[in-house]
């Protein structure tokens, strides 16, 4: 039996996939903490959904100290209301500073509510293509999200930064208060890929032991 060239490509592909998987494993397991007493600002990437998700996320953002700056908000392009809410909250945060500490970016939404699975895959790929250049350009220290469809492509892009060894991005996921018994689809995926995964009901903490439960935080 001769050595077929197809097999060579197959082995190479397999090896590449194994490397990628190993790299992903290392990136996800690396919960790098900064040294206590650190004062260097944390570049934040915040993923906003719409309606309730946005309200919850902005409450969390509001609780953070000014050391979390700049804040890059990413909004789905079908979302009309979130931008206004961000501007209001940032204006209130910015009482003393003159330079605004935030930017707003838009990407295609990866999944509309009740969208079918197959078309979800297509739109998710589309939205990943938008997410990667954005995340590579912003190079955040931390991504914070709470479950809108757009957060999965953005977190995957953030993981890519780690996989390529450019920067380890901390991924913080906060499951919405609406989720009492089951995780959202984004939550089910990011439970395995995030560095810190918060839930807001003890029922979920029991089902997902790796999650962090601090009571209701929004």
């Amino acid at each position: 039996m001769g050595w077929r060239p197809g097999a060579g490509v197959g082995v190479l592909a397999l090896a590449a996939a194994a490397c990628l998987a190993l790299r992903l494993f290392v990136t996800v397991r690396n919960h790098k903490r900064r040294v206590a007493g650190e004062r260097r600002p944390v570049r934040l990437l915040l993923v906003l959904g719409s309606g309730g998700h946005t309200t919850e996320m902005l409450r969390l953002v509001n609780s953070l100290s000014p050391l979390y700056a700049p804040r890059h908000y990413v909004i789905a392009n079908t979302d009309k209301m979130s931008e206004e809410k961000v501007r209001i909250i940032e204006a209130a945060k910015n009482e003393k500073d003159t330079e605004p500490q935030y930017t707003i970016h838009r990407i295609p939404r990866s999944r509309e509510v009740r969208q079918s699975w197959i078309s979800s895959v297509v739109t998710t790929v589309y939205s990943i293509l938008y997410s990667i250049p954005l995340v590579f350009q912003l190079k955040p220290d931390m991504v914070m999200c709470n479950g809108p469809g757009t957060c999965v492509p953005l977190c995957l892009s953030a993981l890519l930064l780690g996989i390529f060894g450019i920067k380890k991005v901390l991924i913080i996921y906060v499951e919405s208060i609406c989720r009492v018994e089951t995780l959202s689809l984004s939550g089910k995926i990011l439970y395995y890929l995030s560095d810190y995964f918060f839930v807001q009901w003890s029922t979920l903490k029991e089902k997902y032991p790796k999650s962090i439960y601090l009571g209701r935080i929004v």
Binding site: I172, R179, E181, S184, R216
Partner: protein
């Protein structure tokens, strides 16, 4: 003890409008509730409040806030059955006996849009969507809402008594999770369109637990430790 005092206060304030239920029954209920966790299970509240008051002569007037204005919201969805039910003669009559002089309906994408009118003793206001319904909630003495998480949280956050009406056609909706849980914890009343009149007749807001705000600062502290700010 504090809660008992609060209850007494509330019931005495409602005394001017209508006789509150005997203090003994309230006391009993309080003991019963804190005594058995089973009594907190789903379906115990709201429904049972209705079954405990066989008398239909006069609705119990809510303690505390005057129910001058009632706000009904279906969020971004449609819930024709609720709008039909709440604007029906039967329900508006019950609302008026409760002291309601203004009923505001936010009907969303629904196909039922009752005609607004202003009468000498009762006003019906109808709109589909608004940038923010915060004002409508703020000025209402009672909020009647679909089970949407956003609407529930907004009404409870504003400290308003809340009746959540379940859309029986959407039983598997995950949005119900939160409403069910909040009902189990005693923060809201829970009914269907067909039991709404009964629930309104037997309103007893004193049985509702206050809904304290969440603690985002705990989250902030946790994240501060992760990044070394603490």
């Amino acid at each position: 003890m504090q809660r008992l005092l609060l209850l007494l206060l509330l019931s005495s304030s409602s005394l001017q409008v209508a006789p509150p239920p005997p203090a003994a029954t309230r006391g009993e209920r309080l003991v019963g509730r804190s005594g058995s966790a089973a009594a907190r299970s789903l379906g115990e509240r709201g429904w049972s409040a209705a079954s405990r008051t066989p008398s239909r002569a006069g609705a119990r007037v809510p303690a505390g806030e005057a129910m001058d204005s009632v706000f009904v919201t279906v969020g971004t969805t449609s819930f024709d059955q609720l709008i039909e039910c709440v604007s029906s003669d039967a329900v508006t009559r019950i609302l008026q006996t409760l002291g309601c002089r203004k009923l505001t309906l936010q009907v969303g994408r629904g196909s039922v849009e009752p005609k607004a009118f202003t009468g000498p003793s009762f006003t019906l206001d109808v709109f589909r969507f608004k940038e923010s319904i915060a004002e409508d909630i703020q000025s209402a003495g009672l909020v009647i809402s679909h089970a949407g998480a956003g609407s529930c949280l907004e009404a409870l956050g504003a400290g308003k008594p809340l009746i959540v009406v379940i859309n029986e056609n959407l039983m598997d909706n995950h949005q119900l999770e939160l409403a069910k849980r909040l009902h189990r914890d005693g923060h809201l009343l829970y009914c269907t369109c067909s039991t709404l009149p009964e629930t309104l007749r037997s309103l007893d807001f004193a049985s509702l637990e206050p809904f304290p705000p969440g603690h985002p600062e705990k989250f902030a502290n946790f994240v501060d430790r992760i990044v070394g700010f603490q």
